[in-house]
């Protein structure tokens, strides 16, 4: 029986586990408590890296979609679809933690600030991408349409970004441009959390891909019979 290479998911899994065991120390002990926002500010250490993971996932989906249309390699479609799915998971987390953060800081669960709106729209596109799969029967056509949507959807990101920024800007400018305002201890904790979430993202992605490949193998074996 052919064994699939377990090394990459394993490496990223271990890396994620190591990071996960250090991250709480940095977040809760090493980094100070922000004066105005209190402990709610700590949500930021996982909220923003989740958002980064989400964008990374959408970007990977975009790249793999282009490669699929170019090379017609089934694996590219598989990677694109898996990236989108993991990205959707992180997007959901961004939205939920965003709401939990907004409640104590701004007094409402949802305030339509530019960045969260961007996340919400991207989340909608990812969800539509996910639903596309179930609507088309022919697997090859489904893969092609997915790739088209993956490209079209990602191209939308700069437009959403610009539009929501013009429309409304409420977000505290901690991440964009004025990172200097973040004290060094918080900055350190934040960057470590970004690495942690990227490791987590890849660990989940590899896991998801190995599931998709197993399913693919099962299906081809079934049609052979």
């Amino acid at each position: 029986m052919p064994q699939r290479p377990y090394i990459p998911p394993f490496v990223f899994g271990i890396l994620a586990l190591i990071c996960l065991s250090i991250a709480p120390y940095l977040v809760f002990v090493y980094a100070g408590i922000e004066k105005e926002m209190g402990l709610a500010q700590k949500i930021f250490y996982y909220h923003v890296p989740s958002a980064f993971s989400m964008f990374l996932g959408s970007f990977l989906c975009f790249v793999f979609s282009i490669f699929y249309l170019w090379k017609r390699d089934k694996n590219c479609d598989l990677w694109a679809a898996c990236s989108a799915e993991v990205s959707l998971l992180f997007g959901t987390l961004v939205l939920i933690t965003g709401a939990i953060w907004a409640k104590p800081i701004w007094g409402a669960w949802w305030v339509w600030d530019a960045q969260l709106t961007l996340t919400l729209i991207l989340w909608l596109i990812l969800a539509a991408y996910h639903m596309l799969r179930t609507y088309i029967e022919d697997p090859v056509q489904s893969a092609r349409f997915r790739a088209v949507l993956g490209i079209i959807g990602f191209l939308n990101v700069p437009f959403i970004h610009y539009a929501t920024k013009l429309w409304r800007t409420h977000h505290p400018e901690v991440v964009r441009g004025e990172e200097i305002s973040l004290p060094p201890d918080m900055k350190m904790a934040f960057f470590f959390c970004v690495i942690t979430f990227f490791a987590l993202f890849f660990a989940l992605l590899f896991k998801r891909v190995s599931l998709a490949k197993a399913r693919d193998e099962l299906e081809s074996l079934k049609t052979e019979i």
Binding site: E137, F145, V148, F159, I160
Partner: protein, 223 residues
């Protein structure tokens, strides 16, 4: 004239002609848009001043939803006798099919908007007479952007189950930034505010998406 443009114009000409002969699509769209405009009035108290600030939104919601209705019909004539296959048997660039269809959809929607705008003005008691010339560009750009992604996705939805549900599902999330620009610039024209930023946004949206769809349409048609 290069073959590409001859073909584009042939498709546009053919679509408009069939559309004009039957008029079923446009009348359904217009009626639907009218319904949306009227129903929106019941959300607010009669004579509420809010209605004027949301008028641009009502206009765009009405035309975008009616547009979706029309888009799902725009490929119906191609599937009827397998015409799409006949079309693909000719030495045609998929981009020409896209462009012809997109321009046809844009024109249909513009006609619809010309019909809806007076109704909106009457029902909501708007004063737009002098702002009208400045409204043309933002509306045109918004419509082009909508028609571009709508035409791509309606070709996609041909081969899916739940065809009608599928089209808005894909089109609307992608259209949001352009919709936002269209509504905001409409509102800015009414209040006399600056609209350059919004026009740049819609212009870039139209340019990028028409280019992307021209390239990607090939993959939607192929099988």
């Amino acid at each position: 004239m290069p073959l590409f443009f001859t073909q584009t114009l042939a498709i546009l000409h053919k679509d408009l002609k069939t559309e004009w002969r039957t008029r079923e699509r446009l009348s359904a769209m217009a009626f639907f848009a009218l319904l949306v405009v009227i129903i929106f009035n019941f959300i607010y108290e009669p004579g509420s001043p809010i209605i004027k600030t949301v008028a641009p939104g009502i206009f765009w919601i009405a035309t975008a939803f009616a547009g979706l209705l029309g888009l799902s019909r725009s490929y119906a004539i191609e599937t009827q006798n397998d015409c799409l296959m006949g079309l693909r048997l000719t030495p045609v660039d998929p981009g020409a099919i896209f462009l012809g269809k997109m321009l046809g959809n844009t024109l249909t929607m513009l006609i619809l908007q010309v019909l809806i705008l007076p109704i909106l003005v009457i029902f909501l008691n708007l004063q737009i007479a002098e702002a009208l010339p400045r409204l043309i560009l933002p509306i045109l750009l918004g419509t082009l952007g909508f028609a571009a992604i709508g035409t791509l996705f309606s070709a996609m939805s041909l081969n899916t189950r739940l065809r009608e549900a599928f089209l808005p599902l894909l089109t609307l999330p992608i259209f949001i930034p352009a919709l936002l620009a269209a509504i905001e610039s409409f509102r800015a024209v009414l209040t006399g505010a600056e609209i350059t930023d919004w026009l740049v946004l819609s212009g870039a949206f139209v340019a990028l998406y028409i280019a992307a769809c021209l390239l990607l349409f090939e993959y939607v048609l192929e099988d």
